[in-house]
């Protein structure tokens, strides 16, 4: 497959995935989310009652809260019945993950798809284009690890031990923008609704969720994938990215020093694609979207590979076709008057 074809194919895969993951229960059955896995490697929200699969993050948080944390408090022996459910959740996640690696982010995640659609709209209307300043990128890149450590592992465990309110049983899910997006998409406003009383922490969580959702929905018009920068799913993927065969590969090339288009094309602002080669070029932030491959002007330098087998390889020809359509940053290029759509 040529990189150009891949870039044309990906929005279709994303759209089908969005429909399946947000409204899929109507097609594959009301109980499908309970059946398929409960450990899907993309932000398919468990609070969306019309979806077809649950994201892995909710069982991880709940098992840490309900089982491990509570067992620690009761000073019981941590037996197989406590730890095994968590291990099995992670293995279920891995069963999916090994198929596509981090492409679950770049190709299937409903939230990722919505953000890309918003960015495309924003750039079509010539709104501002923003990136993370180069000096900030390493710090921004560590945020997702903090979120994974705190929101997915530490806080549910501490809450299960009784030191925090029960609202901290799934702190990531409490603020996850996908929870608002997918439930609203299925006509359910309960996850947007602000509590009118009760626990203060619950109120704060919902307010943060709504505020973050609103901010991100508009910011995504100018900034590529804002939520992905802090997403614990991306970090969880990153932990395991070396065990899955699908990966990004880069050969060393002297011409890369003068280029850097791959880094400009990357929606996650990854500098390493430009500066590194070999395994170091495939970083924790990569979502395997393939834009770097499509915008690499050199034959064979960048590729998406399944083990040793190249699936998509950079080529000067695809680069030429891509750059007629849009800039590496994603700004669409105007179609000259009198030209035939799609050929200029």
């Amino acid at each position: 497959m040529s990189p150009f074809t891949m870039i044309r194919l990906r929005p279709w895969v994303q759209a089908i995935s969005f429909v399946f993951l947000v409204w899929g229960a109507g097609v594959v059955g009301h109980y499908s989310a309970d059946k398929i896995s409960g450990a899907f490697p993309a932000l398919s929200c468990a609070y969306d009652q019309e979806n077809s699969a649950y994201c892995v993050l909710i069982p991880i948080q709940h098992q840490l809260h309900h089982r491990v944390g509570e067992a620690l408090v009761k000073m019981q022996t941590i037996t197989a019945t406590v730890i095994l459910p968590l291990l099995f959740t992670l293995l279920s996640f891995l069963a999916f993950f090994v198929v596509l690696n981090k492409a679950f982010c770049g190709w299937l995640c409903p939230l990722g798809t919505a953000q890309e659609a918003l960015f495309a709209i924003g750039q079509r209307f010539d709104l501002a284009f923003r990136r993370v300043p180069a000096a900030w990128r390493p710090k921004v890149s560590t945020l997702k690890w903090l979120v994974l450590a705190l929101a997915i592992f530490a806080l549910p465990l501490i809450s299960g031990m009784g030191a925090l309110p029960h609202t901290f049983r799934d702190p990531w899910c409490q603020v996850c923008p996908s929870r608002v997006l997918t439930t609203l998409a299925s006509g359910d406003v309960t996850q947007l609704a602000l509590p009118l009383g009760g626990d203060v922490s619950q109120w704060v969580f919902v307010a943060l969720r709504d505020l973050g959702f609103g901010f991100g929905a508009v910011f995504a018009l100018s900034f590529r994938q804002p939520f992905c920068r802090i997403c614990p799913m991306l970090a969880l993927h990153a932990l395991l990215r070396r065990v899955a065969p699908l990966h990004l590969a880069k050969k060393a090339s002297a011409r890369c020093d003068k280029c850097g288009l791959c880094s400009k094309a990357c929606p996650m602002d990854i500098d390493a694609i430009h500066r590194e080669h070999g395994p170091k070029a495939f970083t924790a932030d990569c979502t395997l979207c393939g834009r770097c491959v499509a915008f690499c002007p050199e034959d064979g330098t960048l590729s998406l590979r399944l083990g040793p087998v190249p699936l998509v390889t950079s080529s000067a020809q695809s680069f030429a076709r891509m750059t007629r359509k849009q800039s590496p940053e994603g700004k669409p290029k105007p179609v000259p008057k009198g030209s035939i759509k799609g050929t200029v």
Partner: protein
């Protein structure tokens, strides 16, 4: 990655979904032991009882047999001890629990459902193919992380040996005190709008893991065949409507505030740090 390592990981991971177990988040038929206090209708209650176990408790009836039907259709008799029976499922989420016996002169088929966090077949088949006798079953049950709730319309079907019974009266009772009489349509369906009858302030202690407090409800229908009356019931639980104590308008207002914060970033042209 080396091929052997890859194959090992795939085999291990492929076996995981069959073993994976998540927490039980579906609403158990609770009522907190109040079943006999709020209704005299014969019924069976199913409640979680520890990890991957539940108990079935017949109430207001003399149960002769207690049966659990797994989603794959496999039936199993349950021995009654001290008025209740333990259920230990092998696979699958929802299991149907049937108590058969008598209440006064009536022959009773009481049903409920219990949820387990096990992968396995959906309960669609057992709900669409009711067991023999007079049965009252819901069209579908809530998914994980969801409950039946006030204001929700739920359809139930009354059947006798699998044949729908049209025009039959069905009684709805809730632990919060609502009583309704409805009638099945031509296909044996009755649509129940679960009532908004939860008190403004619930004095009961919190449920485990911060789950919403629920209350029991039971539907029942009788059939007089001339020899002896038959009665079918279905008992389960419902919770309050989340929107009773939350405002989508205020939530949307906060989301709009977030949008307002981002607008200057979108409108301002590129500055420092921009590509």
């Amino acid at each position: 990655m080396r091929p052997i390592a890859f194959v090992t990981v795939v085999l291990l991971a492929a076996s995981a979904p069959a073993l994976a177990q998540h927490e039980n988040h579906a609403a158990p038929p609770s009522g907190r032991g109040q079943a006999q206090a709020w209704t005299a209708t014969p019924m069976v209650l199913g409640r979680p009882a520890g990890r991957a176990e539940a108990v079935a408790i017949p109430a207001n009836m003399d149960a002769d047999t207690l049966t659990v039907i797994a989603p794959d259709g496999i039936n199993g008799g349950l021995p009654l001890e001290s008025g209740q029976a333990r259920i230990k499922p092998k696979s699958g989420n929802y299991h149907l629990v049937l108590a058969q016996g008598r209440a006064g002169q009536a022959v009773v088929n009481a049903a409920s459902a219990v949820y387990f966090s096990n992968p396995g077949p959906a309960p669609s088949h057992i709900l669409a193919n009711p067991p023999a006798g007079l049965m009252l079953l819901p069209e579908r049950l809530p998914r994980e992380h969801a409950n039946f709730h006030s204001g929700e319309a739920v359809r139930f079907r009354l059947t006798a040996d699998g044949t729908p019974l049209p025009g039959m009266p069905v009684q709805v009772e809730t632990a919060n005190g609502t009583r309704q009489k409805l009638r099945t349509d031509l296909d044996g369906w009755v649509q129940v709008s679960l009532p908004a009858d939860f008190p403004p302030v619930d004095q009961r202690p919190e449920e485990a893991h911060g789950r919403p407090l629920t209350a029991g409800f039971v539907l029942s229908a009788s059939l007089n065949t001339g020899v002896q009356p038959h009665l079918a019931s279905f008992a389960y639980a419902y919770g309050p409507n989340q929107l009773d104590k939350a405002s989508p308008g205020f939530g949307a207002g906060i989301a709009l505030l977030g949008m307002a914060f981002a607008i200057p970033l979108v409108l301002r042209r590129n500055s420092k740090g921009a590509a």
